[in-house]
Amino acid sequence: MSTTAITSGLLYLVLAPLIGGLIAGMDRILSARMQMRVGPPIWQPFYDVGKLFSKEQLVVNHMQTTLISGLLFFMVITGLLFFTGYDLLLVIFTFTLASIFLILAAYRAGSPYSFIGAERELLQIMAYEPMVLLVPIGIYLVTKTFSISEILKFETPLIFYLPGVFIGFLHVLTIKFRKSPFDLSSTHHAHQELVKGLTTEFSGPSLALIEIAHWYENVLLLGMIYLFFAPIPWVGVLLALGLYFLEIVIDNSFARMKWEFLLKSSWWVALIFGGGNIILLMLFKH
């Protein structure tokens, strides 16, 4: 492994929670401004996590805490694999594994809210997984490699070959960021419907771990957006942040949809944009 890979891995380990937390803080301020409110200070997510760590941990089932540590562990591993330039396929698979840990943890509690939350999270995985899998396939067809460090060396921005795949990926990003209209399993906002869905039965430190895992996840997802614009770094960074802003706008302007819509729209988008893009690539490239 090269030194740059090790440095970027270490930087991810240290900076990702900081950047993820600041993005979450910015998200809350921007959402508040869109609703004509002032909003909390930008450090609010860190205050929240600090408080949660100092609170009592109510454990419904001891496996819960173990599984939540698994979520954080595999989320960090996924990010490390991504930012040190390993295999993109491996990244996608460990990413799914991390989400599975959260679902298992939610299933451990007997509460119906957490149970339905977990079921909806499974539905969300079912909805976004086909599209997420099309991303490495599309990238492979263009660059002939799954290795991220090799993909980064490709001269043309991938977006020129994979606009459809990118649009499909944006669609499922709304699910991954837990934004309306697709925040079925759990939401950051006060407009709850399943109490707090997936995270209902977690309190104190374990809830804080879920929050930190979510920060790592968000930075990783922004990194995946960057991958499409890699040859021009500043465009990549700006567009990743710009698209996150777009997600906030969508979050504030849509009501939550039903799961049928989530599943149908995600699969249709994956089929038409993602699949169409890949078929065209297979026909016309080389």
Partner: protein, 144 residues
Amino acid sequence: MSSIIKSPWVIHYDGSSCNGCDIEVLAALTPRFDVERFGIINTGNPKHADIFLITGSINEQNISIVKNIYEQMPNPKIVIAVGVCAATGGIFRECYNVQGGVGEVIPVDVYVPGCAVRPEAIIDGVVKGLGILQKKQEEWSKQA
């Protein structure tokens, strides 16, 4: 850690209130008062909450519910009784099924008087509660 006073999460429960106080509690979340400025969130989940905000009096049917919500909240936690009904039973005090104020069932830390309570008074009450919450936090971390 003092971050508990920077991020108090609230669970709001309506005992047998006439909804006057409930509307004022929700008014505190609106753009005009925007309590999220202070990191206050209405969670709706006792396991995430630090502050138990009750409006309305305690009656025979909700005793067990109020106790249950209180017990599901992780320590440290405080209880704020909003409005005269939550303090003493108020206008409903003489009703056959009304037990009285919230203090009859669980320990209350702050009473906010008013009928209906003004949003400013609710915010004042929560801010007063934060001092108590911090003291409880210090005691609790010594115990743990």
